[in-house]
């Protein structure tokens, strides 16, 4: 054993015999490799079996017809998933538009503003929010939020009525079960996820960067803007993507508050449906082609999640290249 840069490499540890140590090491490596591969294998198997199972419905409609068809009528064997695709995207978008700024705010408050002592409690409370089962959020949504918020929606719809674009985006309604309520419920559910990752990301900003900003006479806000946010951009996108994944896949809470109708409406105050919610709602009484079509929706949801994740990665890479370019 010649001296190496790091004396803590496994080869240098005396574990009572080199060959045994190496054997253990090899065994360990095999075990963790297998664990890592399991994820890929399971994911692959899920994709293969669901796609095969969904084929009858997809070939019945044609892939484009299945994804972009606007009519979902199991009684007539017509399966177009677009109203649900639309609902999934719209509710997730509402959820993200509210949750991302709020979460970043909370994370900044925890890392930069709050006292060390109160910090611990805030973190615990936020994490506690993440442990509440989604069905509880759904029930609170449908029993408390929906009846309470309907007049608020009506008031707001009346307020924006004279404004052209907003009036169709927030049209008058008589129910609180709609895209917007679903978006609000999703907001509450993704805030803890985004917050806790954003917090970790902000913690990785080198103290030197922050001190340097202060040394140049920056205020706290200027320091956050100049030192923390640029450094954390990639991590924040990642945090948001995890939140988005949760929002798009959320099933039962959305199923309870979205109103379960297969329409496409520009108004956020209209009833709709999402992919995950529709699967849960219709699964029990479905047979034959209808069942296959529901599985097909699952495949579409999976594909969209993958596409969005890759797109996010691309955004992060581009932004980081640009930022590094600007720095040097």
């Amino acid at each position: 054993m010649t001296s190496t840069a790091s004396p803590q490499t496994p080869d240098d540890l005396d574990l009572g015999g080199d060959s045994r140590a190496r054997g253990t090491d090899r065994g360990f490596r095999g075990l963790v490799t297998f664990a890592g591969l399991t994820v890929l294998i399971v994911l692959g198997l899920i994709l293969v079996t669901t796609t095969m199972r969904a084929m009858p419905a997809i070939s019945h409609e044609g892939l484009l017809g299945f994804v972009f068809g606007t009519r979902w009528a199991p009684n007539d064997d017509v399966f177009g998933a677009f109203s649900m695709l639309y609902g999934t995207l719209v509710t997730s978008l509402i959820g993200m538009l509210i949750a991302v700024p709020v979460s970043i705010g909370i994370a900044l408050f925890i890392t930069e503003v709050a006292h060390a002592r109160s910090r611990k409690y805030i973190v615990t409370i936020i994490d506690l929010l993440a442990t509440v089962p989604s069905v509880v959020f759904g029930l609170v949504g449908v029993l408390v939020v929906v009846p309470f918020i309907t007049p608020v929606y009506q008031w707001f719809a009346g307020l924006v009525e004279p404004i052209p674009l907003l009036s169709s985006l927030f049209a008058d309604t008589n129910t609180g079960r709609n895209y917007f309520t679903a978006g609000l419920v999703l907001t509450i559910m993704v805030i803890p996820i985004i917050t806790s990752i954003a917090r970790e990301v902000f913690d990785t900003v080198p103290e030197a960067d922050k001190q340097a900003a202060y040394a140049l006479g920056a205020t706290r806000w200027e320091m956050i803007k100049g030192a923390i946010l640029p450094h954390s951009f990639g991590g924040l996108v990642g945090a948001s993507m995890l939140g988005l994944g949760r929002a798009m896949g959320e099933t039962i809470a959305v199923a309870l508050v979205i109103g379960g109708s297969f329409h496409i409406s520009a108004s956020m105050f209209d009833t709709g449906n999402t992919m995950a919610a529709a699967i849960a709602q219709q699964w029990g009484e479905s047979t034959g082609l209808h069942t296959d079509a529901l599985i097909g929706i699952g495949v579409v949801l999976f594909a969209i999640t993958v596409i969005i994740n890759f797109a996010a990665r691309w955004v992060v890479r581009r932004a980081e290249i640009k930022m590094r370019g600007a720095h040097t």
Partner: protein
């Protein structure tokens, strides 16, 4: 290629089944020639009659503690598919068996158990005693009539002062036999209805969905101007106001258990014991009634299971019928009860 669903439910049901059989084998030896069957009966299916079946199995546990009957309310579709795959001993279903539902033709026999009215409940401040004609009902639920002061509604209610509130249709967001029977009624009884019938429907755009009967009841309660179809038990529990619906004889009838049994009396019973109580004749008959059946096998592999199923169903069709009313279900009329018992005795010798 029914891998997923079968795998999951298969494992669960198979393990319970194995447990049940083991319990059978290990039980006391007097089972073969004794009066009472013993062991475990495993059933799954429709959720609509679940409240009644739950009460019945609980009561039955006191009648014969040695025979344990479990009913899983997984939905009619799942129940039928379980039946086809041999995963349950009998299935509950609100709908008839279709060609791709699972059970093979000739392998099953329908046994009717109870029925229940489907109410048309509404939320309209200050309006009570609303009467709705059949054609009007169809037009309301498919969105042709959008305001409460429509002249067609007014024509059925000359004495009522109707507000101009918008109508919101509340429906089931999950697939449901209740939706199936309600749309089947509209489809068969009216000319205006164009949305067909089935466990799901293409509701108009002025509609909201609720999960389960409770969900629809909740949606009606919270929405001013809402109208929805809800089973009697949930409508009564939520305190909803129910509309009187025009029946085949042209009378406006409130959804009651008496009206339902009257409807069953007026229904034509087919040879396979299926019947259609929707819009049945009779001055008192409530027109929107949902029947529910149990599917039994024509050929049980295990004698013990066959004896258990027979014994439980015999009880369900006799003493068990008394439990129906307190759970807001209508008992079968005596004639149909007897017919069902006869068929049960023929099928399981």
């Amino acid at each position: 290629m029914k891998l997923n669903r079968r795998a999951i439910f298969g494992t669960i049901t198979a393990s319970t089944l194995a447990f049940g059989l083991a319990a059978c084998g290990g039980g006391d030896g007097d089972g073969a020639g004794g009066d009472m069957a013993s062991g475990e009966i495993n059933a799954s299916g429709a959720s609509f009659p679940d409240a009644y079946y739950a009460a019945a199995t609980e009561e039955y546990a006191e009648v014969n503690p040695d025979l344990i009957v479990t009913y899983n309310a997984v939905g009619s579709g799942q129940g039928k598919s379980d039946f086809g795959e041999g995963l349950n001993d009998f299935a509950g279903t609100d709908s008839l068996v279709g060609s791709d539902d699972g059970p093979e033709e000739g392998s099953y026999q329908y046994i009717p158990t109870v029925a229940a009215p489907i109410t048309v409940s509404y939320n309209l401040e200050g309006v009570e005693g609303l009467q709705i004609g059949q054609e009007t009902l169809a037009m309301i639920f498919q969105g042709d009539i959008t305001a409460w002061d429509d002249e067609l509604i007014a024509a059925d209610n000359p004495d009522l002062e109707l507000p101009s509130t918008d109508i919101t249709v509340a429906h089931r967001s999950d697939g449901s036999g209740t939706t199936g029977n309600f749309t089947k009624f509209l489809d068969e009884a009216t000319e205006s209805w164009t949305l067909g019938s089935g466990d799901t429907a293409e509701w108009p755009s002025n509609s909201i969905g609720g999960d389960g009967n409770t969900g629809v009841a909740q949606a009606v309660t919270e929405t001013d101007g809402a109208i929805g179809y809800v089973d009697l038990a949930d409508a009564a529990e939520t305190g909803l106001v129910t509309a009187s619906i025009e029946n085949a004889d042209g009378n406006f009838v409130q959804p009651t258990l008496e009206g339902t049994t009257a409807g069953l009396d007026g229904a034509v019973i087919n040879d396979d014991l299926t019947y259609n109580p929707l819009n049945a004749a009779g001055p008192e008959a409530y027109p929107i009634t949902a029947p529910t059946y149990i599917l039994i096998r024509t050929d049980y592999e295990d004698e013990n299971v066959a004896a258990g199923v027979k014994e439980f169903l015999t009880w369900l069709l006799t003493d068990g019928q008394n439990l129906a009313a307190q759970n807001n279900f209508a008992a079968l009329p005596e004639g149909l009860q007897q017919q069902a018992l006869d068929v049960l005795n023929e099928t399981i010798a």
